[in-house]
Symmetry: D2
Subunit: 287 residues, 4 copies
């Protein structure tokens, strides 16, 4: 076991007294040093959420035993939905992209700079323009053109590519195709999209046109987990930028790119740091 590695436990369960005490006591009794803890109780739903991270160095339980002990001891009696990860488990992220490079470059530049604890084994596109970017970063690129007619078989092909590259989760870095419910069901809460509007305003196609037409004074971008309901999945992160009557649709597109890439990268980072937890179509983002 590497030094300084940590275990990350995410929990949600019906609220009741003493959960924090019992969970932290479990860690403390086994000589774990907590380095981060955040918890939250949703009073309307009477539901408790918690993320706790502790150092594995010196912890008395072996990695494989932690869940084995925790489950019967606390997970089951407290009716927890829980999830245990280790900081040296580096997820494998597949990127889907169409023709715009801004989100793709933003992710790849961070990846190369070591900002994102991730592996990127594959980039898939319904166009060919981004192949040169993939090549520069030496990441395998697959061109999978999708039409109404061949969508089903092409998505099957994409699933095979993802499987071959052992992809854990997918980021849609301005991928201008709607994924089928069948496809999405393979990656529950594991497809992160960036939508170029401040959802729920301007869901669907051409949000900058719609924003311009409505005469809003602020535009936004929204990153969310993809569900089978278009642009209606649990929101991870949003941000906005001020605009004015001077802005044309073209300048909205231009300005919007800046928030799209920042919002998407923040959402990906939160996901990679295991700081997100989805419940009832909302995302808890832990501190």
């Amino acid at each position: 076991m590497l030094k300084n590695q940590t275990a990350i436990l995410r929990i949600h369960c019906p609220d009741q007294g003493g959960i924090v005490a019992r969970v932290t006591d479990f860690i403390h009794q086994n000589k774990g040093n907590v380095v981060a803890l955040d918890q939250y109780t949703n009073r309307e739903e009477n539901r408790f959420f918690m993320r706790v991270e502790w150092e594995l160095d010196g912890f008395m339980l072996e990695r494989d035993d932690i869940g084995t002990v925790f489950g019967p001891l606390l997970g089951k009696p407290l009716e927890m939905v829980w999830d245990l990860k280790f900081s040296d488990q580096i997820p494998r992220m597949g990127i889907f992209v169409s023709k715009s490079s801004h989100c793709l470059y933003d992710l790849l530049a961070r990846y190369e700079a070591g900002e994102l604890k991730v592996n990127i084994p594959v980039i898939i596109s319904n166009h060919q323009e981004m192949e040169k970017v993939a090549k520069r970063f030496e990441i395998p690129f697959y061109h999978v053109a999708v039409t109404k007619e061949n969508k089903k078989e092409q998505e099957q092909k994409e699933l095979e590519i993802l499987k071959e590259h052992k992809v854990d989760f997918i980021v849609l870095a301005r991928y201008m195709q709607i994924l089928s419910s069948d496809f999405v069901s393979n990656f529950p809460n594991k497809v992160i999209n960036i939508h170029h509007s401040f959802l729920p305003a301007f869901a669907g196609a051409k949000p900058y046109h719609a924003a311009h037409s409505r005469g809003v004074k602020i535009i936004g971008a929204t990153s969310h987990y993809v569900t089978t309901d278009l642009d209606a999945g649990p929101i991870i992160e949003q941000d906005i930028i001020r605009i004015s009557h001077h802005d044309s649709v073209e300048s909205l597109v231009q300005k919007g790119k800046d928030i799209e890439k920042i919002v998407l990268s923040r959402a990906v980072k939160a996901h990679l740091d295991r700081k997100t937890l989805v419940y009832n179509n909302k995302t808890v983002v832990f501190a």
Copy 2:
């Protein structure tokens, strides 16, 4: 004529070469000193918008003659929709309010501090709670309770009160009643509302409940001119505040108040400074 008073001319017309030259030349030839000028061309609609303000002191035309000369000389030939005001024409603003005091206090405190060049002759409410606030600022208060049944006659009564107090425009400072089309048609682009969401998201009733339910990470407020189409009038100003999963509906309501009052007051100030111009359901807000 008082020294340092200014004339404010607002124009929109089909775009064509030389409008700025001709308008500024008209002012210059008559010895006017321009203190502010902002213009904008909407290329999609091929429409030109301009606001120009100049000092009356030393201007060769008398107030009453400016329009008489400008109209035939430039207004008519260039097919302008235009509007001329003078800085010492102080508009009379009627305030409608229900039970919440935050927007009302914000407006009245600015009014008292001399921030808003306005007279406030009357406050109308469908409830009685805000009467004490009106009294403190010594502004006549009318309680006009509105029900489904009596709406028509009560609006008639409100119109009479507004007429009696010579009200030029109306601010809905969290007035929780929908004004009828008939009522609104008396004040075209002269009723300013604050809606407690980032329109067009969460139009209609209970926007904070809807925002909470959707799990957004940012909430907003929107000030707009009221049209007969609910929450769909031309937007004057918007702003937002970041929230998190920790926020309950109650805390959204609380946090939202801060942006509601600031956004409404900014919109009222832009209106009072004659910096707004509505065209095709959008608001140009001049610098």
Copy 3:
């Protein structure tokens, strides 16, 4: 004991394993239901910070006994600096103000609306302009004019007024006098100021003039606890607003007011909710 009242415990101490477990276990063992918990470890200083709030209803220890038990059991052995409050202990806030009304109105309007859990027994000013505002809200107002020469005796007088009205903490709502070290030492971390700049930029007098002169594109406001070091106390809250070359000093003053009042009110609310904890001239603001 009223139903639904809570106990609020704030702690900081040297970091070590198991603090969360031991504190939450203490509450749990005594049948307390935790409604809020936030904690944070400063790794550079190896210091642990925590705020925990639990319902008193059903808690097995009497109010007066909680500290008596907690101190020897955990406070002392873990070398904690700790503090215990109850939600129905409503602090008494004294307001100091000079001539500007915007922060004063913002606080009083929130107070009246029940947003701030506070009593406001007294307003003190070195000018007379705000007396009328105090009268409207029926709060005793004292005019204590301060000059270089009489500062010492006038501050003494102020201290007596504060004592008489049993003031717990002071808010400087744009009070344009520097308090002496002697005065401040009577209220350690209990004087909240609003400075009209984005500290540490433009500390001292006339920050809007300095901002204008420097040509910044954004201005700010900072609320902080007052220490004997001018404008250098621990920061509670800051916010900013975008400006441009169009802005004169006067318009900066005007725009700045909007963030001054919001930032100050947020800081006061955090203080009242017992969410602030000062250590080494920095303020931890709990969620």
Copy 4:
């Protein structure tokens, strides 16, 4: 002459009546179609600023004659400092960078996507890490290591490289060396820097350490023209991001990168669009 090319005229001069009229009349008389006009009068300095852009197609003066006519006709009599550019004059931008890639990638990705109307003939670095990035975009890279001892000769070498590549202006994309006054004097208002703080707060080295130490709740980034006075040149653009006590110096560095790159790119874009005008150490940024 290409269709749709424009002329861009930037002016500042002592304020006096009729400047807008005379300049726009000059364009109008020569059949120029104005596509953008922004002007501003600094009343404190009694100085007038203007940017006007018109289509060359159909304009009656040849490019080379515009200045020849404008100078004696208006420039000289009105004591203007003025500057004329054409939209198809694409400036040549040299990039200086040290080890951090985020600003460099942001600029290069925009450049490749056609967002920036610029040529980038050369990248210079005092380190070798960014050579691989330069190679990917096929831009000549020069490693010019600078020490206290060799600074003078190395800057001479840099000047030669810049001359050889006909560089018009320089962008310091996180270049961690202070340029000498001699060097800077070769590029007056033509060196754009990004400083990783909200200037004037935290000028000089290690601003994130200083921000962390001061306990601010917001950090910023500032792009400015470089003058011989360190971090004190005219500000072009600033932006901020909210932080909390949870942030370590490392996370400030991380979060700061996002605003650094956006702020720098916005400033470069304003410069390329000829929307900036420096006067008295401040930057007018036209709409």
